[in-house]
């Protein structure tokens, strides 16, 4: 039974691919609309060096944007939760920048920063920044007052309360923000490349679409999906390392033993 459970997701994917392949062949779907998965696989292997080159460009932009978002969002969240005045000062503007659609301002970045790495990193940054700030602030506010009173009564300093109580309680919230942001960062880098680029998977998507090389286009989408998934699970792995005590992990273990 457990083996069957483990294989279930793979079987699901295989069935999906088989249906796709059969559908394209039976209904003779023209290649400009949808290539069969076998053709995509062949192209994926044949064009792997190209995908790797462009994939690395996109990964690099995404990681840089994400790292910037984390580096700025977390201190900002701490400042927001520490001072109500700062919160009132900064939150409306942050919200304003979040509400402006990134796709709409991305063309401006092209004019300001050219076609290099900078505009892509900035879009990835902008798009992944907000969920981290919000979730980190909620997390930092989530410590109960009883917990604080307890810590204080045991003689903890302000710093100790923060470092040993407030920060750890915020981690589960922070990580849900980090995970959402991880999936958004990939999209951000690709949006940046769509607007103007000379390399990267977003560039490859546009060129292949333009040339009607649908198989390579699908292979590019597969590559993007892989990058997104790997990044997401890397963050989740980090989460499991840092907060193994958290309820989401406990629940899963319980379910496993039942």
């Amino acid at each position: 039974m457990p083996v069957v459970n483990k294989l279930a997701p793979y079987a699901g994917i295989l069935v999906f691919l088989a249906v796709w392949e059969a559908g394209v062949r039976v209904f003779k779907v023209p290649t400009y609309l949808m290539p069969p998965p076998s053709a995509v696989a062949v192209v994926f292997v044949n064009e792997f060096p190209k995908l790797l080159f462009h994939g690395w460009v996109t990964t690099y932009e995404m990681l840089l944007g994400y790292a910037m978002a984390v580096a700025i969002a977390i201190p900002l969240a701490i400042a927001i939760t520490a001072s109500q005045r700062f919160d009132r000062f900064v939150t409306p503007q942050m919200l304003f920048f979040q509400v402006v659609p990134k796709v709409a301002i991305a063309p401006l970045f092209l004019v300001w920063f050219g076609v290099g790495t900078t505009p892509k990193v900035l879009v990835a940054f902008l798009i992944s920044f907000f969920p981290i700030v919000i979730d980190a602030s909620v997390g930092l506010r989530s410590m109960s007052s009883e917990m604080r009173d307890l810590a204080r009564s045991m003689g903890a300093s302000r710093w100790q309360v923060f470092a040993q109580f407030r920060l750890p309680t915020s981690l589960p919230y922070l990580f849900s923000g980090l995970k959402v942001a991880a999936t958004l960062a990939v999209a951000g880098a690709v949006v940046g490349e769509f607007v103007g680029a000379d390399k990267g998977l977003g560039y490859l998507l546009l060129v292949t679409n333009s040339n009607m090389e649908t198989a390579l286009m699908f292979a590019t989408i597969v590559a993007l999906t892989i990058i997104g998934l790997v990044f997401f699970y890397a963050v989740e792995f980090l989460e499991a390392l840092l907060i193994p005590w958290h309820v989401t992990h406990r629940v899963r273990e319980d379910a496993g033993t039942m």
């Binding site: 023209p30 400009y32 063309p107 004019v111 076609v115 607007v195 000379d198 546009l206 060129v207 333009s210």
Partner: protein, 335 residues
């Protein structure tokens, strides 16, 4: 005003027609407005479409690939698309066909700032930064161009941007050396809009590379229908008439076009119309009706694209085009 006069003339000429409602006919262009489109506006404003019982709605497009996709999925059953781009679509299974080829030589050119002119000759191409708009007509012919010169696309630094304006901005801001565009479109227009002096070199002049260019294409299943065939014949006849009229009355065509595209000055619009009218026929189609294309030119285009741009050649060239819906001069409505 002109429309009203046109309509009144129509009313006087054909009182029986008076109560007949015009049939709506959407027609999507390949691109944002430029001088090449003037003849369609002429056909509309001079009442040529109305005389055929049509109310043509001229819509802008965002690149031949994208527009060809809209034709393939029947969103816009009839549209204006680059022929080379359409050929690539047809070989990939798009159910579309050219029903009239208005530009029969390629106007594709490198367009650059005059103060940083590059590439002006073959030796300058390698390493140049070339901006293109993803989904427009340039990639198919540029690939063939590079192939014919023994180079690959990777030999230039190709910058793709998402919308028509961005490739112009990239060149103006010197983030790209040149853009791929039409010699009678971007060059004069950018000069006009920004005051920056522009220069251009046609791919044809550099390496003799040309293909059939802008064409009116239609969705195959749409054009199977007898009623649509009749619509298409009338639309093409009036369009041919508009092109003929524009050919003979360049200044008036430019003037009419400017009513739809007020950013153009008369000088630039006229320059674009004049440039357009130099490439509406090939050696083979001299003396033929406007839009009529020769199978030999389709063969040449296919040979070029299949040799140098990985186009999968079709044994039957008639999958690309048909002349059957076109009319003979003087393109007047049938009574």
């Amino acid at each position: 005003m002109r429309i009203i006069v046109g309509l009144m003339a129509l009313l006087l000429a054909a009182p029986v027609f008076a109560q007949q409602k015009l049939e709506k006919f959407p027609f999507r262009l390949n691109w944002t407005l430029y001088g090449e489109h003037a003849p369609f506006f002429v056909a509309r404003d001079k009442g040529f479409y109305a005389a055929e019982g049509l109310e043509v709605e001229i819509q802008e497009g965002s690149g031949s690939t994208t527009v060809a996709q809209l034709v393939a999925n029947s969103t816009s059953p009839v549209a204006y698309v680059d022929a080379a781009t359409m050929m690539r679509g047809v070989t990939n299974g798009m159910p579309v066909k050219a029903v009239g080829v208005t530009l029969q030589q390629s106007p594709m050119a490198f367009i650059y700032r005059a103060d940083a002119a590059r590439p002006t000759k073959i030796s300058e191409i390698k390493g140049s930064r070339i901006a293109i708009t993803a989904g427009d007509a340039s990639l198919a012919i540029f690939t063939a161009f590079m192939g014919k010169l023994g180079m690959k696309l990777e030999d230039v630094q190709m910058i793709t941007v998402a919308n028509p304006a961005s490739k112009e901005q990239a060149v103006l801001a010197k983030q790209a050396d040149a853009l791929l565009g039409y010699f009678m479109d971007q060059g004069p227009r950018m000069q006009l809009q920004t005051g920056v002096k522009m220069g251009w070199t046609r791919l044809y002049d550099m390496a003799g590379v040309t293909t059939l260019s802008s064409a009116i294409i239609a969705n195959n299943s749409w054009s199977q229908d007898a009623k649509n065939q009749d619509l298409l014949r009338r639309f093409l006849r009036a369009s041919q008439r508009g092109w003929q009229y524009s050919f003979e009355n360049r200044a008036e065509a430019a003037e009419i076009f400017r009513k739809a595209a007020p950013v153009f000055t008369q000088e630039i619009a006229l320059l674009e119309v004049d440039g357009t009218m130099t490439i509406i026929r090939t050696e083979r189609t001299k003396g033929k009706p406007i839009g009529w294309s020769d199978i030999g030119d389709w063969k040449d285009s296919q040979d070029l694209l299949s040799t140098f741009a990985k186009l999968n050649p079709q044994s039957d060239l008639n999958v690309y085009f048909t002349n059957q819906f076109l009319s003979e001069a003087p393109y007047l409505p049938k009574k």
